[in-house]
């Protein structure tokens, strides 16, 4: 696989692992910048401030080393919105009068979402969660983490169930699923087994979490690799300094 393909994003708002000043910013600062830009975008009405904010918004986007292809992936959803809004404005105000308000509103809506998109594109899940720890109760975060953890698990389970049901003769190929006649098969062969699996997994996970002392204390401890690395590095430095001092002391004693 070549490097260019690896750098390309597969879907809109996907995290892009490159090094940029925006990537290096703490998530709190990014949230603040995003909020400020979004508020600024919705309050302006005149062309000049809007152009300035547009430039600022796109500079923020490209400063994060995101490409034009990424931008297309991120904002192509707004094209349909643009078409609907333009036709409604032209219908209401007529041909020349409806163009500027239509373009302005569509542009403002698209720009409003760009700072948030930059936040998603430049912030890793772990950094997001670390920031959230201070404001969201840990039990909600536990649920969020657990649900996230089970996304690949259930995706895999679904594939296995589909495969098994296909082998049993269920009509679940992409061509069959397009025909409403076979939607009953879809529910009885995939959804119900998946739900039964979810019930069993919820039982097992709840039992497992309780066995590990979940909820035993008001606060929760976290296993943070970075914090652990910092702690180990600190301890090593202290030990090295201690050893050096000991060597110096020994030398002095010998002399």
């Amino acid at each position: 696989m070549n490097g260019r393909r690896m750098l390309r994003s597969d879907y809109a708002c996907q995290y892009r692992a490159v090094d940029s000043p925006i990537h290096r910013l703490p998530s709190g600062w990014k949230m603040l910048i995003s909020a400020a830009l979004s508020v600024g975008i919705v309050v302006v009405r005149e062309p000049v401030p809007l152009i300035i904010l547009t430039v600022l918004c796109f500079s923020y986007y490209f400063l994060a080393r995101l490409t034009l292809a990424d931008l297309w992936r991120d904002i192509r959803f707004f094209l349909i919105q643009f078409c609907i809004l333009m036709s409604l404005f032209l219908y209401k105000y007529g041909y020349p009068a409806g163009i500027w308000p239509g373009i302005r509103t569509s542009l403002q809506i698209t720009l409003f979402f760009i700072p948030g998109i930059v936040f998603l594109r430049t912030t890793q899940v772990s950094a997001m969660m670390k920031g959230l720890r201070r404001i969201v109760p840990y039990r909600i975060l536990f649920l969020l983490f657990t649900s996230l953890r089970f996304v690949p698990f259930f995706a895999r389970e679904m594939q296995e169930i589909i495969m098994a049901q296909k082998l049993r003769g269920a009509r679940l190929s992409p061509q069959d699923i397009r025909r409403p006649v076979f939607w009953k098969d879809l529910f009885s062969c995939i959804i119900i087994p998946m739900l039964v699996r979810a019930f069993r997994t919820a039982d097992e996970a709840a039992l497992s979490a309780q066995a590990r002392g979940m909820g035993a204390h008001a606060d929760r401890s976290y296993y943070d690799v970075r914090e652990l690395e910092k702690y180990i590095a600190g301890r090593n430095r202290t030990a090295a300094a201690g050893a050096e001092a000991e060597v110096e002391r020994m030398k002095e004693m010998i002399e």
Binding site: Y11, L88, F112, G116, L120, L143, A202, D203
Partner: protein
């Protein structure tokens, strides 16, 4: 005897909360899968309504659908599946709030077809509400916002109602097999 772990002001047990978390996971998985395969506006409401209504049927407590909406929004943001950025949370939360609110007055919401269809339609009509909020802030006229919300909402309502159709038989089937408690 060890005290049971509870969530959200002691409303849900750990098992219930995890089950609701899995419903949120299913919403995200189906949303991600369908987004790549289909290209019809409003189709995401099909599985969103299906799983939100199911979650309310699994856990018959006010707040169940809201918790699923909250978690589905959080997972979408964390996985970068939110093409509207963090404001996508509203797309999940608003229908969930409608379902929970309706559930207060209609306890048989998920096992009675008319109520299920009506509430799913109402909840799905909130599609486009997040965009309407932004349009309102951007200074678009009220009638244009309303017309656009109607255009976007209609497809959502149709898909949402379709998505809620399989909920009553599934709930009944699960109750018959004692996987969820009967009312």
């Amino acid at each position: 005897m060890k005290k049971e772990v509870t969530f959200l002001w002691n409303r849900f047990s750990l098992r219930e909360a995890l089950l609701l978390g899995f419903c949120a996971t299913f919403i995200v998985i189906t949303k991600a899968t369908l987004r790549m395969k289909l290209g019809i506006s409003g189709h995401s409401m099909f599985f969103l309504m299906f799983f939100l209504m199911l979650s309310r049927g699994f856990v018959r407590k006010t707040g169940a659908a809201t918790l699923v909406g909250l978690l589905a929004g959080g997972i979408s943001i964390a996985l970068g599946l939110a093409h509207k950025g963090p404001i996508i949370m509203l797309n999940f939360l608003l229908p969930a709030l409608v379902i929970d609110f309706a559930g207060i007055f209609l306890p048989r919401l998920t096992s009675w077809y008319p109520a299920c269809l009506l509430v799913a339609g109402l909840a799905a009509s909130t599609k486009g509400a997040s965009a309407a909020v932004v349009e309102l802030m951007a200074g678009a006229p009220g009638d244009i916002i309303f017309q656009k919300a109607v255009i976007e909402g209609l497809a959502g309502v149709a898909f949402g109602m379709l998505g809620s159709l399989p909920v009553p038989p599934i709930i009944r089937k699960l109750q018959t097999n004692r996987l969820i408690p009967s009312p």
